[in-house]
Assembly symmetry: none
Homo-oligomer: 391 residues x 2
């Protein structure tokens, strides 16, 4: 049994192209059910009719909800407990102040295991160029890994380059989660080359979109999507960016929303660091050179401090980042194939093949019938290292 509010929100999520500030206002005034009815009948203000005229006769609400359910997705609306009301309030406030293009979403399509409000509560965005350098991808993966490992949720846009590396780093960690916000519908799942990655993100975190099923990716939709990444997190880290880039757009939006804007420096000759240096120099973004500095900057200093007693050196300390990621991808009992480990860790298969014997020599991995597994007593219990659950 689908509630009338949910049906109305599903209709309203398709009736206008976001961001739709007049429609958001109209819904706030009338409630979703009445607002949907009035719009269907063409009885709304000019501004609302202008936003909705092209699609107001198209009611696929029930079908969209069914399709979403079939792919394991749900519609999260302001009427739901899961709605991240507090983070999204920044969009309302900025819109109220006259900022353009940052109206709140009407509803969010969500596929994944985490509650969106809980993820947003611990959210940090890691974004950057698609055409990233090896340095940038390495940094994004490290930051994603370290932040998720400390219980944060790593938000990004699932694009190639920095975004993908950040998600992969987060997935390779023991804790935390990762959330991908798309500029198309969940069932479209752009970019196609990241279909498997999106599945893994949904399995450990969430893939979200404000676009109803079937909506195709478009350049403006990526920019519109960026405001969600900025709004749902307490701060945005730009790892690499050219001088004009989508990542800088997300950072600018984060600034408009009053969120913390951070950028990672790089060699001054690198074109993919130009945008980061400009953000630090001209827009006063905070320079961050480590995941600890990210936590410190977003006011989560306590998260980075290891709990009492865990200060003793771990045997994985000093492992190179890729080796660490391969090690994290090993299970404790069941062996995994190098292919599986490559997929899980995001480390290329030939490197995985080279690293596994090295880890074995270091006493950190062992071969078994089904592949490779983690040496049992080499590493202290992961759960013990995680910070205590916070509100």
């Amino acid at each position: 049994m689908i509630s009338s509010e949910r049906l109305a929100r599903a209709y309203l999520s398709r009736v206008a192209e976001p961001p739709a500030p007049a429609l958001v206002n109209f819904i706030a005034g009338h409630g979703p059910v009445e607002a949907a009815e009035l719009i269907r009948e063409g009885r709304a203000t000019d501004a609302v009719l202008k936003e909705t005229s092209a699609r107001r006769c198209l009611d696929r609400a029930r079908q969209d909800l069914d399709e979403a359910a079939a792919m394991g997705a749900r519609l999260v609306t302001p009427e739901d407990d899961e709605w991240p009301a507090w983070p999204l309030l920044s969009l309302e406030v900025a819109t109220g102040r006259g900022a353009d293009g940052v109206a709140a979403p009407i509803a969010l399509w969500v596929r994944g295991e985490v509650r969106l409000d809980e993820a947003a509560c611990d959210g940090v965005a890691i974004v950057g160029a698609r055409a990233a350098s090896a340095y940038g991808e390495h940094t994004a993966a490290e930051f994603g890994h370290a932040l998720a490992g400390r219980g944060m949720a790593v938000f990004s846009g699932a694009a190639y380059g920095i975004d993908g590396a950040a998600h992969r780093g987060a997935l390779a960690s023991g804790g935390g989660s990762t959330v991908a916000a798309l500029g198309c519908a969940l069932d479209v799942g752009y970019p196609a080359g990241h279909a498997a990655l999106l599945n893994r993100i949904a399995g450990r975190g969430a893939v979200i979109s404000e676009y109803p099923p079937g909506t195709q990716p478009a350049k403006h939709r990526f920019l519109v999507r960026n405001r969600l990444i900025a709004a749902l997190t307490s701060g945005t880290v730009v790892v690499e960016a050219g001088s004009r880039s989508g990542a800088r757009n997300t950072a600018t939006t984060a600034g408009v929303l009053g969120k913390v804007v951070m950028a990672v420096p790089g060699p001054i000759g690198s074109v993919t660091s130009v945008g980061c240096h400009q953000l630090i120099r001209e827009a006063h973004a905070t320079l961050v050179a480590s995941a600890d500095e990210v936590l410190e900057t977003v006011g989560r200093f306590g998260v980075s401090m290891p709990a009492a007693g865990s200060a003793r050196r771990r045997r994985t300390d000093g492992l190179a980042p890729q080796a660490l990621r391969v090690h994290e991808a090993l299970a404790e009992r069941r062996g995994r194939s190098p292919d599986d480990i490559a997929t899980e860790s995001g480390v290329p298969l030939p490197r995985v093949r080279a690293l596994l014997p090295e880890l074995e020599l270091a006493g950190l991995s062992e071969r078994c019938e089904t592949g490779w597994r983690r040496t049992r007593n080499a590493v202290p219990n992961h759960a013990a290292e995680r910070p205590p659950p916070r509100e």
Copy 2:
């Protein structure tokens, strides 16, 4: 024929280990000749005697001046036109505000072709780690080359690594000059491996030291020397620095002196960039990724961008309040004495004496038979293109 002031300054430059704030004060009160006499006789305040007791019977003034002359060096004193009074005023101001270890020098031993006051007027410091990376040395050389090529004087400490690369880059350029400030005497010329470089610097710029002939290098002397590099320039660029380093000390001193502090970013994994990132993140140093950005940051944007028609700005714009008052006290025809100008402007006489040459450099005042007067027209000579002195 050596003047008694010069002999006194030569004696005083050896009698105390710099920085010697009590001695500097004592000389300001008594003049160098009387101050030298009183100290020789042990008739000074306790603070002055404490600073001078170890060496007050050692008078090698004439010998030191002869030795300096023999190696082509000179003693530059506050009584000389060449004395960089305006830049060094920052040391007095900071000392007056209670900052430790930044007392002005008593005199400077100089070997080289440029006038020190002129070099300081266009001075930018480029400093950094001795154990620099290839990236750091390359950057220092590029910055040194580009800044000197635009007529700036590149100040540094002649150490291995970043310092040497900055000097070399400046020397390789067509214009500008470079100045090395040493933590030992000119005739000692540390580091030994840079003896040829120091000769080349003296040939195109200047090698300076506040230490009389024979003074050996010592760790504290490098730190003491750093304040001269900071004071004699309008800004300090740290190219590479570890988390605790002499370069950071220079940067901190530059900040204390109200000068611009800049740092070059680098890869976050590089230990030689850690200090730069800390300066940007924690001490709010300005990130600079190019020589143009250095010029822009020290307020020499015009130097890098010779724009037409930007002369609408009044030539006294940007003058510090006291400089403006001194300028207003000047007449257009009849020259006035510094005493009259001090009375008229209400600015203390020593400040008037320091400001008048600065205004002259900025093309705003000129000497005449009866004293100082206002420059009549905006004569487009070299001096007129210089920005007015700032506080």
